[in-house]
């Protein structure tokens, strides 16, 4: 029996709030972005993290990739504490846990071609120059792109292509855990479907562990085996994805599910009662036509 590949143990993260004056006057207040969060992610799990904006999803992601440190508690990678690992082997953590962002255009250097961007990442992993070209071609194939993309600059790519390059760059490090923070939120539905299918294939083929952050419950249902529902910095419900979505226990999860657009089936039979204010008619205002 092996332990979780990624674990959060009683993790809180807060940020200083208010201006300098407030702090000088001792009116020190802190915004609690994550409040005592514990989470075990097993190897090969595909975990969806959902919740409204501000619920702490991105904060959780930045802790998991080691871009931020918890205020309280600890993050463990394969049983090793972040506090220790970061002191001695920061590079190792960064290689084993990789991240894909929502807006790949700001995450990619606008002046570097795809080939160069991937090449530099491979160099970081210690791949000798001679081996890079073939590995770049493999990475591009892996994310469903052809070699003709190689010489292009980020602005010469479509949104969906840029998102795939962000993914290829993360995969170039051969990570064990991939954190994807709203990776398809900025894409059209047709491209969303392409990227979701790609992520699904990659987790299966590479045995990747994936933390998929999204506000789209239907996408999470398609891709993930587990789901974590966050609200105001806390996990309010978690479990097997289909169980939670079919039989949500927490009222907040029920609210999120009710808000998903459902087409004709979602038409409200009776619209909410008109408000108390008597409507003035157009004729009252502008006179009869």
């Amino acid at each position: 029996m092996t332990g979780p590949i990624l674990a959060l143990r009683g993790v809180s993260k807060s940020f200083p709030q208010g201006g300098l004056l407030d702090r000088l006057l001792g009116r020190d207040s802190r915004l609690v972005a994550l409040d005592d969060v514990s989470l075990d992610v097993m190897r090969g799990d595909v975990v969806g993290v959902v919740g409204e904006s501000g619920s702490g999803k991105s904060t959780l992601a930045s802790l998991a990739v080691g871009l931020a440190r918890p205020t309280l508690g600890d993050v463990l990678l394969d049983g090793q504490s972040m506090a220790e690992l970061m002191r001695d082997h920061a590079g190792l953590w960064r290689r084993r846990v990789q991240m894909v962002f929502q807006d790949s255009s700001s995450a990619l250097n606008p002046r570097k071609s795809v080939d160069r961007c991937l090449g530099e990442t491979l160099a970081l992993r210690g791949v000798p120059r001679a081996g890079r070209e073939s590995e770049i071609a493999e990475l591009l194939t892996l994310v469903g792109l052809g070699p003709e993309i190689g010489p292009r600059l980020p602005h010469e790519l479509s949104g969906g292509q840029r998102q795939r390059i962000g993914l290829a760059r993360a995969l170039a490090m051969k990570p064990e855990v991939l954190i994807a923070d709203e990776p398809v939120s900025a894409l059209d539905v047709s491209l969303q479907a392409q990227v979701i299918n790609l992520l699904s294939r990659l987790t299966r083929e590479l045995g990747l562990t994936l933390l998929f952050i999204s506000h789209d419950l239907a996408l999470v249902r398609t891709l993930c085996s587990r789901i974590v529902v966050m609200r105001k910095g806390a996990i309010v419900e978690q479990g097997a994805c289909l169980d939670v979505l079919d039989r949500p226990q927490h009222p907040y999860t029920q609210t999120l599910i009710a808000a998903v657009p459902k087409g004709l089936a979602g038409r409200r039979k009776t619209w909410p009662a008109p408000s108390a204010v008597a409507p003035e008619t157009r004729e009252d205002i502008h006179g009869a036509a």
Partner: protein
């Protein structure tokens, strides 16, 4: 059928390109909206939804301009109307709300001031009366303590409240047509559901006609009577929402529906539309969807299919489903 409130006829919008030619982004769009009707316009980004409606409002900024067609509102051609006439119509008869409520509000002015400015531009009322109307509009869109909230600045409102405030501004003069361009795209799903309900409720109470633009067919289908599907600057399908939901005729509409997963039913790989939406100036001579269409035949890329009506349902496809 009642005469249309808005009738867009052969509308074309183009840009002057670097080499001096004209690149068209809206290439002969036809559709109409009856009084009190709610019409959804759906399609991937770049299909020309926003440009078409900005052209209706005569709000196109340079270098975009109308290169052909007519926009008839209540019998009057807006393409030919002068700017003075448009200023009178905008806000009073036709109002528009946009995706990003932040950038549609002036950060330096209170919410109350911005609504009263619109009211006083169109109605001959005192300042006190304008404030009363502004407070009433805010209350109607579900903002509590509306009287006090008039003194708030946009940054003091959440994203959802800002969108409500913009809707309040839009309905303050009781327009006949409300154009909402992706009004919920920047909002959380829970807030999105509230805003959609609000628009449906206002429509019923005020007898508003609504044009609701979105890339999400599922969302649009919750509140509209009819769906217009755009692709590559053209209308490819236009039909009653029930027909579009049950059996879309255009392959693009079918795929657009299929690639959005639902919260019920079996879980499996998603239907994806391969390739990417077309780029301007690189459109085939024939059907704009032909490079991505699984049903395409040889004729498709060469010849443009006409938008053909059959029992109130229009489709532009050589091989409708």
């Amino acid at each position: 059928m009642s005469p249309a409130l808005l009738s867009v006829e052969g509308l074309r919008v183009g840009f002057r390109s670097a080499d001096g030619g004209i690149v068209e982004a809206v290439r002969g769009v036809d559709f109409s909206v009856a009084p009190g009707e709610a019409v959804g316009i759906v399609g991937e980004s770049g299909s020309g939804k926003s440009l078409s409606m900005l052209a209706v409002m005569r709000l196109l900024g340079a270098p975009a301009r109308v290169t052909g067609g007519r926009v008839v509102f209540d019998g009057e051609d807006l393409v030919a109307a002068d700017e003075k006439r448009m200023r009178a119509l905008r806000g009073r008869d036709i109002a528009m709300v946009f995706q990003d409520p932040q950038s549609s509000l002036n950060p330096a002015l209170t919410i109350g001031r911005q609504i009263t400015d619109v009211v006083r531009a169109h109605r001959d009322v005192s300042a006190t009366e304008a404030r009363r109307i502004a407070a009433e509009s805010l209350e109607r869109v579900g903002i509590r303590d509306a009287g006090k909230r008039l003194a708030s600045y946009p940054h003091e409102f959440s994203g959802g409240m800002r969108q409500r405030a913009l809707i309040a501004m839009a309905i303050a003069c009781r327009p006949r047509l409300l154009i909402a361009d992706e009004p919920t795209t920047a909002l959380d799903v829970t807030v999105q559901a509230q805003i959609v309900d609000l628009i449906a409720e206002l429509r019923r109470e005020l007898g508003l006609a609504v044009v609701f633009i979105s890339h999400n067919l599922q969302l649009v289908a919750e509140i509209v009577d009819r769906v217009v599907v755009m692709y590559g600057g053209k209308v490819v399908e236009d039909g009653p929402v029930e027909a579009i939901e049950r059996g879309p005729r255009h392959p693009y509409t079918g795929l657009l529906k299929a690639c959005v997963p639902s919260l019920s039913g079996p879980v499996g790989p998603l239907t994806a539309i391969e390739g990417a939406p077309p780029r301007l100036g690189r459109l085939p001579a024939g059907c704009p969807f032909s490079p991505r269409c699984p049903d395409a035949i040889e004729t498709c890329a060469r010849e443009m299919p006409a938008l053909i009506a059959e029992a109130g349902h229009r489709t532009a496809c050589w091989r409708p489903r």
